[in-house]
């Protein structure tokens, strides 16, 4: 069965083509979809391709950094931390030049690996996502978008263009093309610290327990230990690592990310 491809040439056209998303598969760079098709995935898909919809730029204006959903991940490598470092950990340079930010945020975790490894740094940066779908457009914190992304077309993400210190600690993948097993991201802006983890749960996860502990004066190590509460009941068990392992290593990664905040501000 032949696929049908929709190639909108503007944002407005993309929104109109997407509608409420029914029966559509959104194609960013293809780096997640194509392997699934090659492995015997569905044929005859109806695909909305964002490559020419004008959603591939990065801009800094009005105190915000805005990244189009179709922006290649390679374009993030020189942006703000901890996003830049996280982006450099994605696959290899050729895949980074093709894979898109929107794809990374919208892709579902697979049975083998958590994927979505840019979600946590964006949460740490207090990013918002602008999306369209049933009920029209909306802009919301990226963690809220992640919780209700079905039937939504992500258009862009934005985060405040301020100076901050950041931390990123990762349990490395064994091979360039594996996703990181887990990573912890932290960003401190005007005394407020945001913490998020990737690879622990179904999506990138904001660690409010860690943040609250820090706010109430806990040491970094004590606060980091609280990450277990944040991901309790949601820990992934997959080909990269067991839930048992993740539960034990995650606090260490959070502690390392927090320690980098102290080094950064010193």
């Amino acid at each position: 069965m032949t696929s049908e491809i929709l190639l909108p040439t503007s944002q407005e056209e993309a929104i109109a083509s997407f509608g409420d998303g029914g029966g559509l598969t959104v194609l960013g760079g293809g780096t997640a979809l194509m392997p699934e098709l090659a492995a015997g995935g569905p044929s005859g898909l109806r695909v909305l391709c964002l490559a020419r919809a004008g959603l591939d730029g990065v801009s800094r204006s009005n105190g915000s950094v805005t990244i189009g959903a179709a922006c290649p991940i390679s374009a993030l490598e020189e942006l703000d931390e901890p996003l830049a470092t996280a982006a450099r950990h994605v696959a290899d340079p050729e895949v980074r030049a093709q894979a898109t930010v929107g794809g990374n945020i919208c892709v579902e975790a697979s049975a083998e690996s958590p994927r979505g490894d840019l979600q946590a740094p964006l949460i740490a940066l207090a990013a918002t996502g602008r999306s369209s779908g049933a009920g029209g457009e909306r802009t919301e914190p990226i963690e809220n978008f992640l919780a209700s992304r079905d039937g939504r077309l992500l258009l862009e993400v934005s985060y405040p263009d301020t100076s901050r210190v950041a931390g990123y600690a990762v349990a490395r993948r064994p091979h360039a093309h594996h996703y990181p097993i887990m990573a912890a991201c932290a960003a401190r802006d005007s005394g407020t610290t945001r913490v998020a983890v990737t690879g622990a749960a179904r999506t990138g996860h904001r660690c409010t327990s860690v943040e609250q502990a820090l706010a109430s004066g806990a040491t970094a190590d004590d606060a980091a230990a609280r990450v277990v509460d944040d991901v309790a009941g949601e820990l992934r068990d997959d080909a990269l690592a067991s839930a048992w392992y993740r539960e034990r290593v995650m606090p260490t990664l959070v502690a390392r990310a927090l320690a980098q905040l102290e080094e950064g501000s010193a």
């Binding site: 032949t2 696929s3 049908e4 491809i5 190639l7 194609l27 760079g29 293809g30 780096t31 979809l33 194509m34 392997p35 098709l37 090659a38 492995a39 898909l45 695909v47 391709c49 490559a51 696959a91 290899d92 340079p93 050729e94 895949v95 030049a97 093709q98 091979h175 360039a176 093309h177």
Partner: protein, 174 residues
């Protein structure tokens, strides 16, 4: 959909989601790019799309409509090797040969944007390319040799140097 491959224009009516790798190999008979994993994880299918290195197995045809595609075959042939091809030959960067076309194409893209890469730059650029034979050292040596401007005498493939010639060159006799 229109596609130019190694300077030749093609008009294609294939499924828009068909991987460029299959279009090249099965429809256009351009077999230099190899199907090593079809998961984007091995690098053997790497080609240039408008001069940038891409995995052809990850690239649906729809994304390259109107693009200029260059494969290993477009970089040089046996009678006129480009510098990287000559260097891979001379430095034994190719062993079984299956990863070689992807390696050379990726190295070509690197040198186009960074003519003087460090060894670390080369390693980073080739991070997605798997070679199971060489252990990579000879591949890195070959690319470094081109980057430092070494010239290669073995550019004429019509004439494989025989044993006598090689012995004379290396000064070893038996």
């Amino acid at each position: 959909m229109k596609l130019t491959v190694n300077g030749r224009a093609h008009d294609l009516a294939s499924d828009p989601l068909r991987p460029l790798l299959h279009v090249l190999r099965d429809e256009l008979d351009v077999t230099g790019p190899k199907a090593g994993c079809q998961q984007g994880s091995c690098g053997t299918c790497t080609i240039l799309v408008d001069g940038e290195a891409r995995r052809s197995c990850l690239t649906p045809l729809a994304l390259v409509d109107g693009a200029e595609v260059t494969t290993i075959e477009g970089l040089g042939d046996a009678t006129r090797l480009n510098a990287l091809q000559a260097a891979f030959h001379q430095y034994y960067g190719a062993q079984c040969g299956f990863c070689t076309s992807g390696m050379i194409v990726a190295a070509h893209a690197l040198l186009e944007r960074n003519p003087a890469p460090t060894r670390h730059d080369i390693q980073t650029a080739l991070a997605g390319h798997i070679c199971r034979c060489t252990g990579y050292v000879k591949i890195l040596d070959a690319i470094e040799a081109v980057a430092r401007g070494e010239t290669f005498t073995e550019t004429n493939g019509d004439r494989q140097p025989g044993v006598e010639e090689s012995v004379a060159k290396t000064g070893v006799s038996g």
